[in-house]
Symmetry: C2
Subunit: 350 residues, 2 copies
């Protein structure tokens, strides 16, 4: 019997549509005994402009039924800041309990990096996805007056920190270097920081072969450009993770290559895979977007669904394609076609 993957697809706005089409092409090419059934969800700026809706309870209930979600990018300049972020993207991450926001950073041979001497960069950031300053527990009084006070609250729980820290340790233990770096700012954010620190120390006892170190987020910035090769697995909170991963993407060739998974490791809801980049309205519809980040997100999706061989084929195809890239620009679908062909060729004979 053929296995079926039942995929929710939120292509979204701008280049989201274009890159997701290529991602799906490669996904199909990567699978032989597996059927992919896709259900498109009309979510994002276009939907909001038309209906004023970001994500209804019905949308959410329907999305919950799938095995996984592939998301392109959402947003356009006409939507006020925060509407789609809070109402759609973060709502999905929070409602579906995506507490592991997984962001690998790898410098593929042939990729141009802003660093003069990058070294071998190959690390994974495990960013907490359901707590921290992202919880939306802020508020403001006397808005628009000289007496306005606007607060933002970072919420960190033992439950929430421990589960993501344990996940990060497990990932570190499975990697050759077995090294975990906690990034925080516990000398200033003493309450949250000490919870993170104590948790890492405690969970370390369960993973005695993992070496742990700690960096303040500001010091992490420095190492990410002076010695990114020092990192293996980074675990950090939601906001620091946002910051660290964009810098990590920049030093490994830009967000055109940066993939991410919003993972619910407990399987109580579908996980969601998306490129780190946005909808890039300035280049939308021109076939200029690089679909590689989406294709690498598809690899993370395959890995998450237990299809590690297919994931590896996709990653190898990307690596080979990048290594062979010339200076002639290719269109979005040319890149997608090339990757799909390479992945299909790499099929194991069965």
């Amino acid at each position: 019997m053929t296995r079926t993957i039942d995929l929710a697809v939120i292509a979204g706005d701008g280049i989201g549509q274009e890159v997701v089409a290529e991602g799906l092409k490669v996904l199909d090419a990567a699978l032989t005994d597996v059927t992919v059934r896709t259900t498109p969800y009309d979510l994002g700026a276009a939907r909001w402009h038309r209906t004023g809706e970001t994500l209804t309870d019905e949308d959410l209930a329907a999305i919950r039924q799938h095995d996984a979600i592939l998301l392109g990018a959402v947003g356009d300049p006409g939507v006020p800041s925060g509407v789609l972020e809070r109402g759609l993207l973060l709502r999905l991450r929070f409602e579906l309990d995506h507490y592991v926001n997984l962001r690998p950073s790898k410098l593929f041979p042939g990729v141009s990096t802003p660093l003069a001497e990058p070294g071998e960069i190959d690390f994974v950031v495990v960013r907490e996805g359901t707590e921290g300053p992202y919880v939306g527990n802020g508020g403001a009084i006397r808005v628009g007056t000289p007496h306005e006070v606007a607060n933002e609250v970072s919420v960190n729980t033992a439950f929430g920190v421990e589960r993501v820290v344990r996940d990060a340790f497990a990932r570190a233990a499975a990697r050759p270097r077995k090294k975990l770096t906690l990034v925080h700012k516990h000398n200033v954010l003493v309450h949250a920081g000490h919870l993170w620190r104590r948790t890492v120390e405690r969970v370390n006892a369960e993973f005695p072969d993992v070496t742990v170190d700690y960096l303040h987020v500001d010091a992490a910035m420095i190492f990410l450009v002076t010695n990114p090769a020092r990192f293996d697995v980074i675990v950090t909170d939601n906001l620091f993770g946002d910051i660290v991963t964009d810098l990590a993407a920049a030093v490994t060739g830009g967000i055109g290559l940066a993939a991410s998974g919003n993972v619910n490791p407990d399987g109580t809801a579908p996980s969601m895979f998306e490129p780190v980049h946005g909808s890039a309205p300035d280049i939308a519809g021109q076939g200029k977007a690089d679909p590689t980040a989406t294709v690498l997100s598809v690899a993370l999706l395959l890995e998450h669904l237990g299809l590690g061989d297919a994931a590896a084929r996709v990653e190898r195809a990307v690596a080979a394609d990048i290594a062979a890239r010339g200076t002639t620009p290719r269109t979005t679908s040319e890149v997608g076609d090339a990757l799909a062909a390479a992945v299909a060729e790499a099929q194991p004979v069965s």
Copy 2:
């Protein structure tokens, strides 16, 4: 009549002592008609180990009487995280209302940078210094239990944001490029972010010749390594400023060169000048520390006290020294002596 500068000196721990000695040497050399009177304050890890005190009310009252403060670095591994940061460094910044945390980033010719194509980097970060997640309004319940909740609160007021934004606009208006970039994360931290955004828009009306743009903090990370030359003046909150300025320091040659001023522009209390680096216990006492960041902090101090000519001489001496640096390492005091000599030579004949 000779003007006297009445300086509080907090040399602190580790290399703090060494670099401050050189900073004072250069300060003396830079001034002709001005007498410098220094009062050392015994603050930092050593004091804490001996007495358990970080900064007493008496210390603070005494420090308040000075014209300015020069600080080296404080801390050693024996002091629990947060004790000196909250009890001394941040207490000084908050009590003395250092709402402008000024951090210039300039790539001096001859400095080696991790970037392959750095371009001309010359910008200033105006980091808010008395609000944001640094206020210490966090707390935790059920500490050490599986039900612990640890919160951190970022407090942002119209009063606090407006005064630092106005300062940043004034600095931008005085620079050739007249460009101000707000860095925040208003799509997620909507309450604080929108206060910052609205404030920048409103104050812009008072500085119509300043061009304003906005970057999310994660996008700022990318530009800081791909196109740092795009920045002129950055204004941002306390935590984002901490992160941005360490990255800015890294791309302009490292924290060995990064100067900072904790400025009270209203003059209601003395401003404090300090290198961005820490006490570096690993190299302390060996004459290995680079005093350049402290010397550049002395330049900021001179500028703040209205001694712009002397400040310019110090900066030029540093630039010349850096450009001429060979590969032979010099001791801390050799660098200080060279800078002091160069500054003294550059005296205007009077």
